[in-house]
């Protein structure tokens, strides 16, 4: 059961990851710094999942990116694009709605 529980917890985390990434990237970050930022708020996600996700979001037009050589290191920086911000608003609205629905179920159960 613990394996299945872990899989369900992972699925739950993956579900909110896009929200978390779009929010976090309102400030320009590169891959590794984004991971540290998410870890700092207790969102621990595997790097092998996070970095490909960032690229996918960029391919959807939700993020802008640029290469930069800071401190002698080449880094690819990402930031939420205009389209990304609009998508984020929609997703956040959905999230609020789901949260309210879940709170109602937890309190009163389904009738």
């Amino acid at each position: 059961m613990s394996e299945k529980l872990e899989a369900m917890r992972l699925e739950l985390r993956r579900g909110i990851l896009i929200l978390a990434v779009l929010n976090a990237l309102k400030q320009e970050q590169y891959g590794y710094s984004l991971r540290r930022a998410l870890q700092a708020v207790d969102i621990d996600i595997e790097e092998g999942t996070l970095y490909p996700l960032i690229r996918r979001l960029e391919s959807y037009g939700l993020l802008d990116s640029r290469w930069s050589s800071d401190e002698g290191r080449k880094r690819r920086y990402y930031q939420t694009s205009t389209q990304g911000e609009e998508t984020l608003k929609t997703l956040e609205a959905d999230w609020q709605q789901l949260n309210k629905a879940l709170a109602k179920i937890s309190k009163a159960g389904i009738k």
Partner: protein, 312 residues
């Protein structure tokens, strides 16, 4: 001595991930991955105060994920040729087809070998159709079995660089190996369309038709090559054993061409009286060409082997 040769663990890891990625964006993804992983290794090195050992670097990279899994994540959402809705029907179709194919092939073999019943064209057509069904079924079963074995033995749960440095040549990639495997299987299917006696006389060039000898040696070469290509899909490293097997595969066909050339090459006209006499000369030249090409190929594998031995 650093068993990885000149390349660092990070270089080897990036090369492994890159080999599993499609050509489009491959270099860009590799560069970005290198930047992020360099930061991770640097941070670990700072935390540990002393310089990270090769093993510590490998462990850190392994925690990131097996290159095959990482590459799969970069290729987007899960894709499958056949989705979950139809998958049970596909699986049943493959199982039924394979079972029916196997039974028909066994029946045909029994009827011809034991009962000496000549089914003529019926036999040939069925063999042709069944061979294709069988190949598709075997390939599907092969991949299913491979995936199960990988899961059971947790093959993708960690990463270790291969003992031998593999070429960064883009051609030597997992996709190239898959294409080679399919081409070799297709060639074997085509060779099977030629009805020959699989006996010693044909093997040593005593068969009246020299083409049959060449076909038999080609079949043997394909049977040795196909498993190697299949293995190379999952492991592209050029190990000593792989180089030896490849050299051996080339020498198989060289041997066949030599036997045909020095035994019965001229008899090709006796078997095909409608072709012009110049074809016999052309056939001889083709055989010489094949001997040269396969010998050079075998020599190139031998040369790589000696270079690896010297590096040790």
């Amino acid at each position: 001595m650093n068993f990885l040769g000149k390349k660092s663990p990070l270089d080897r890891y990036i090369a492994d991930v890159k080999s599993y990625l499609p050509r489009k964006n491959r270099d860009d993804i590799a560069e970005e991955l290198r930047a992020n992983l360099s930061e991770k290794l640097a941070e670990r090195a700072e935390a540990s105060v002393i310089e990270m050992t090769t093993d510590a670097q490998i462990k850190t990279l392994s925690e990131f994920g097996h290159p095959l899994r990482v590459a799969a994540e970069y290729q987007g959402e899960r894709r499958s040729l056949i989705g979950p809705t139809l998958y049970p029907f596909y699986r049943m179709s493959v199982l039924v087809s394979l079972t029916v194919s196997t039974c028909i092939i066994l029946l045909l073999l029994l009827s011809e070998l034991i009962f000496r019943v000549d089914l003529g064209d019926v036999s040939r057509v069925w063999l042709f159709v069944n061979t294709y069904i069988y190949i598709v079924g075997v390939i599907t079963a092969g991949f299913v079995l491979t995936e199960r074995l990988m899961e059971r033995h947790k093959y993708l749960d960690s990463w270790q660089p291969n003992a031998w440095d593999h070429s960064n040549n883009a051609l030597v990639s997992a996709w190239g190996a898959l294409i080679s495997c399919i081409a070799a299987v297709t060639w074997l299917v085509i060779l099977n369309l030629v009805e020959i006696d699989h006996d010693l006389d044909t093997l040593i060039g005593r068969n009246p038709n020299p083409i049959y000898t060449l076909v038999l040696w080609s079949k043997i070469q394909m049977l040795v090559l196909i498993p190697q290509y299949f293995h190379q899909i999952f492991n592209q490293a050029w190990s000593r054993n792989r180089l030896l097997l490849r050299m051996f595969s080339e020498l198989i066909l060289t041997q066949g061409c030599v036997i045909v050339l020095f035994s019965n090459a001229q008899d090709v006209l006796l078997n095909y009286p409608d072709v012009p006499p110049s074809m016999a000369t052309t056939f001889t030249y083709v055989l010489w060409g094949m001997i040269v090409v396969t010998s050079l190929s075998a020599y190139s594998y031998w040369h790589k082997l000696t270079r690896i031995a010297l590096r040790r």
